[in-house]
């Protein structure tokens, strides 16, 4: 069943394939994020209630959504790494972790900046905010565990277990505003329902969500490719690649 995947278990092939993906993810993500952000910040109408301060949604929602998707991706990679002992999966886990941590931090930071003018406070210990903070700690924990061992394989095992266990937090973040009373409002954009946002404001948000997702992929691939070159520095294909570029 996995026959067609097997060639990519070779580092050299994975390096070349990810290079092609990186090109498209990087450029589409960059263009999308530029267009979406400028459109959202400068060309959408102000909100009837919050005025201009609602515009930070164009950074807050994409980073928050992608911090959760990134974690899900990391957990899936950790699962593959644990069950099939696939070493590229372990490398993917540690490639995603710091990128996801930065996204989570940005989501928390933009949320705090948004909370002050609208709610009247930077921070409140409500279920949504607290669970997103735990997500940041999970990301940092995965990074810390990975580098805590002398032997990278033991580190990867430990980090993978934490990554898999922590995935329970992702549905908790998502449903926190449904299950409990919270200061944070419900989801604006959901898969199954009509978005609760005027169409004139919605497009830049959707563009930014997709673009931030592509950028998450691009940053992850960059880190993965670096890691591949570092770990296999003595192999002939790495020499070929490096000589070909310089």
């Amino acid at each position: 069943m996995f026959k067609w995947l097997h060639p990519y278990a070779k580092s050299e092939n994975l390096y070349r394939l990810s290079g092609k993906f990186l090109f498209w993810f990087g450029w589409l993500g960059f263009i999308g994020a530029t267009v979406g952000t400028i459109w959202g910040l400068a060309f959408t109408p102000a909100d009837y209630q919050q005025g201009d301060s609602f515009r930070i949604i164009y950074l807050h929602v994409p980073t928050a959504m992608m911090s959760m998707s990134g974690y899900l991706g990391m957990a899936i990679a950790a699962f593959i790494g644990t069950v099939w002992q696939q070493r590229h999966a372990d490398m993917t886990v540690i490639a995603i972790a710091p990128v996801g941590a930065v996204y989570t931090f940005l989501a928390l930071f933009t949320g705090a900046v948004w909370g002050k003018p609208t709610w009247g406070t930077y921070w409140v210990w409500d279920a949504r905010l607290t669970s997103e903070l735990i997500l940041l700690f999970l990301y940092l924990g995965v990074i810390a565990l990975y580098y805590a061992y002398e032997d990278r394989r033991s580190g990867a095992r430990a980090a993978a277990i934490l990554a898999m266990v922590g995935v329970i937090n992702v549905p908790i973040i998502h449903y926190s505003v449904v299950w409990w009373n919270s200061l944070h409002q419900g989801a604006t954009v959901t898969v199954f329902e009509k978005p609760k946002m005027d169409t004139s404001m919605l497009w830049p948000l959707l563009i930014n969500i997709v673009a931030f997702g592509l950028l998450l992929g691009a940053f992850t691939l960059m880190r993965l490719r670096n890691d591949l070159l570092m770990k296999e520095g003595h192999r002939p294909w790495v020499k070929q690649v490096l000589e070909g570029k310089s």
Binding site: T44, G120, W179, W180, M197
Partner: protein, 163 residues
Amino acid sequence: MNPRRKKRLAATLAVLLGLGVAVGFVLFSMTQNIDLFYTPSEIINGKNETGVKPQIGQRLRIGGMVLPGSVKRDENSLKVRFDLFDQGPLVTIEYDGILPDLFREGQGIVANGVLTGPSTIKAHEVLAKHDEEYMPPDVAEAVGKVHPNGVGNKAEGQNGGAY
């Protein structure tokens, strides 16, 4: 799949499933502790599932809608009183301080304070809650949601009727 992988797969899935169930139970039993606030009817009648009522003197948060026409301000200070409602019962909030920009009649708010009587709370913090609907002012006007004083006003306690 070879037997070793099968074993690892089974062990991993079992651990994840067990952990999921455990966390589920913990969250279920902590439901009312995770709630950020009581609603006015929960203050009067107790929590829905457990019937637990807050005691007088207890520190708590309350969340509800500001009853239009109930905001009374003191002429010479920042003191303000207003009623909160959700479905039926009213709870009066007393507050001395600066209200957030989004505070207005009909708006959802969350107040942090001490229960001083069966249905009065002395708040030391008032936060505004907003919903997940965003629209430009002209659209809001068309669907009858706009506030007469426009964007970013401070609730004056004198404008009613347009909610």
